[in-house]
């Protein structure tokens, strides 16, 4: 089976002095729910922007259904990949349904209006995300969690096999975090959509995602020619089942913070403990 998205030996930097990604290489099978995690500055958002075709890798390529992403036209790509960015309030007061309808813009008729098919897709997206009941309200009058569901509805109305999300639950409270992940899981399970989400929330990702990609920040040493380890230098990332990647030792190494870990049921949870935390020195580090 061809991978939904294949990232082939990608490197990227903002200018020659600031390498961010080095030889990232992995494939995502169709229907997978993948979490992309890592410390600030490790290049998570850069990676998702490269996978969405917004940034071009300096070397390597992203293959979408086996074909180089940059050989796709803007519209052709938008029929395969939808992108949800961090929740925000747009400058102008569009309503929920107006916002979701925008996903259909490239398919409007010559007079700039949607077809019945567009309306059906939008109605379905509103229903799946449970946003239909406030469809006529302005985006700015919604809570953050409701607004994020609207942006996910807009992405669903694009009717794509792949959904990319850049920190979909940042700024959301606990209930909305769980709500968004439930929604993403049902999109993956019921619609066979490949979901790839950049996240800081390792615990929710452990509960919902199949696989995880952990990125480590590049340091001057590990990226430049002064790298002592030579050709055998460690890869900048690890990918695998969530349980394996989100192991406490891995997280401690990647984030450089002491963590406490336990099990909820089958899955682990990980809690960072700084030097001044009340339980800074727990009796045992259980794994």
């Amino acid at each position: 089976m061809t991978a939904a998205i294949q990232v082939n030996q990608i490197s990227f930097g903002y200018g020659p002095q600031k390498p961010v990604l080095r030889q990232i290489d992995f494939a995502v099978e169709p229907g997978t729910f993948l979490a992309v995690a890592g410390p600030n500055g490790a290049g998570k958002s850069t990676l998702i922007q490269i996978m969405a075709g917004i940034l071009r890798p300096q070397s390597g390529a992203v293959l979408l259904e086996g074909r180089n992403l940059h050989s796709y036209g803007v519209r052709e790509q938008a029929q395969r990949i939808a992108l949800v960015r961090q929740e925000f309030v747009p400058a102008f007061g569009f309503s929920v349904i107006e916002t979701v309808l925008m996903a259909r813009t490239p398919y409007y008729g010559q007079w700039g209006f949607e077809s019945q098919e567009d309306r059906d897709l939008v109605a379905k997206a509103l229903e799946l995300t449970d946003t239909a009941r406030f469809a006529s309200r302005a985006l700015g009058s919604l809570s953050s969690g409701e607004r994020q569901r609207v942006f996910i509805a807009r992405a669903l109305a694009q009717n794509t096999p792949i959904l990319l999300l850049d920190e979909p639950t940042s700024f959301l409270d606990l209930k909305y975090q769980a709500g968004i992940y439930d929604l993403l899981k049902s999109i993956q399970a019921d619609m066979a959509v490949t979901v790839i989400a950049v996240t800081h929330d390792i615990n929710l990702a452990s509960q919902y995602c199949d696989e995880a990609l952990l990125l480590y920040p590049l340091t001057e040493d590990s990226s430049g020619s002064t790298d002592g380890s030579g050709p055998g230098r460690p890869a900048q990332f690890r990918i695998g089942r969530t349980a394996e990647i989100f192991a406490p030792e891995e997280i401690q190494r990647a984030f450089g913070v002491h963590v406490f870990s336990g099990r909820v049921g089958t899955e682990r949870f990980i809690l960072p403990l700084g030097a001044r935390a009340k339980d800074a020195n727990p009796p045992t580090l259980r794994t």
């Binding site: 969405a52 075709g53 917004i54 803007v74 519209r75 052709e76 790509q77 938008a78 029929q79 990949i81 939808a82 992108l83 960015r85 925000f88 309030v89 747009p90 400058a91 102008f92 007061g93 569009f94 309503s95 349904i97 107006e98 916002t99 309808l101 925008m102 996903a103 813009t105 490239p106 409007y108 007079w111 700039g112 209006f113 006529s136 302005a138 985006l139 700015g140 807009r154 694009q158």
Partner: protein, 342 residues
């Protein structure tokens, strides 16, 4: 707000057009010299020489009202486009330097004492037009370099170029002679005069063509006003649409400015007022703002030629004096409905 349907759009556009025509007719009949519509239309049929009323209506009032309508429509529509492209409700057609560029061109023409004409246009208009397009091209170029996906660079470039050219305008104004000064000040405040029909045809034709072209960019402008990357990721060719919308609105603004000087406030308050009343959908916002801008400027210009008759005020004084308080009223009353970008 329910999504827009073609029927609602058509209905509102037709109603607004009828309203505009009624206002234009009423304003054409108002003036220091009383004229009657009946006398004016029956004039030329009676005898070989048309009556005075007919002459005034056809040669003075109607061209002037048409000019005001054209300029108002152009400024309001480009205001809509600039606000969408910059994702900033405080943007107006002058924010990227068109006004100061045009002003500098106009002043150079006045001070240079040029007296030739090009297709019936004075050097002031020609220089203003070129100054406007040159400046906006410069600002757009700087904005492209400073940040591909961020509008802040573009906005700052506009502010700085505006400030720099305004300083040059002030310098030239301070060394200008009396009569030159008077002409310059009137131009800078925005001023209408009776134009000949050829100018109206060319100016009106290009503005109308621009407005029609902008209407077809309406759906794309909706998503672009949400975000550059949002537009790209749903499949809109953002760079192309942005460049087209920007070029068209800069062009019609330059045409409007070269015809009437710097008339302020129309491009800011009309889009706002229409958005507050009818919602932010650009498919509707563009035609309705164009029509409302035309109505607003026709009325403002009628006031400008009436209040100190037989002398005239620069129409920019009227638009600012009506527009300022009206805008504050709208802002206070509806501020809870407007969502400012964070």
């Amino acid at each position: 707000m329910q999504p827009l349907t073609p029927r609602i759009l058509l209905f509102r556009t037709v109603v607004a057009t009828v309203l505009l025509l009624a206002i234009m007719l009423a304003c054409a009949l108002v003036g220091p010299q009383d004229i009657s519509l009946k006398a004016a239309v029956s004039g030329p049929r009676d005898g070989a020489t048309p009556g005075l009323d007919y002459e005034i209506l056809m040669r003075v009032r109607i061209p002037r009202v048409l000019l005001a309508a054209m300029v108002g429509a152009a400024l309001a529509s480009s205001g809509v486009v600039f606000q969408a492209l910059l994702r900033n409700p405080l943007a107006d057609p002058y924010i990227l330097g068109i006004s100061s560029g045009a002003g500098l061109g106009a002043i150079l023409a006045v001070i240079g004492g040029l007296s030739w004409t090009l297709w019936g246009r004075s050097p002031i208009a020609v220089f203003a037009f070129l100054g406007a397009l040159g400046t906006v091209w410069l600002v757009w170029g700087i904005g492209r370099i400073t940040g591909k996906y961020q509008v802040t660079g573009l906005l700052l470039a506009g502010v700085v170029v505006n400030a720099f050219f305004s300083a040059m305008i002030m310098f030239l104004v301070s060394i200008a002679k009396g009569q030159q000064l008077y002409a310059t000040i009137f131009w800078l405040m925005g001023n209408m005069a009776e134009e000949d029909l050829f100018v109206l045809w060319v100016g009106g034709g290009s503005i109308l063509a621009g407005l029609v072209a902008l209407f077809f960019l309406g759906p794309q402008l909706n998503i672009i006003s949400v975000g550059h990357q949002d537009a790209r990721s749903i499949g809109v060719p953002v760079e192309r649409v942005e460049l087209a919308a920007f070029a068209i609105s800069a062009f019609i603004t330059a045409v409007a400015v070269s015809l009437s000087g710097l008339i302020g406030f129309v491009g800011l308050i009309v889009p706002h007022a229409v958005r507050l009343l009818f919602g932010p959908d650009h498919r509707q916002l563009l035609p309705l703002s164009g029509l409302a801008g035309a109505m607003f400027l026709v009325v403002a210009d009628t006031i400008a030629r009436m209040v100190v008759a037989p002398a005239q005020l620069p129409v920019g004084v009227v638009t600012a004096m009506i527009g300022g308080p009206f805008f504050l009223f709208l802002l206070i009353r509806h501020s809870r409905k407007v969502y400012w970008p964070t």
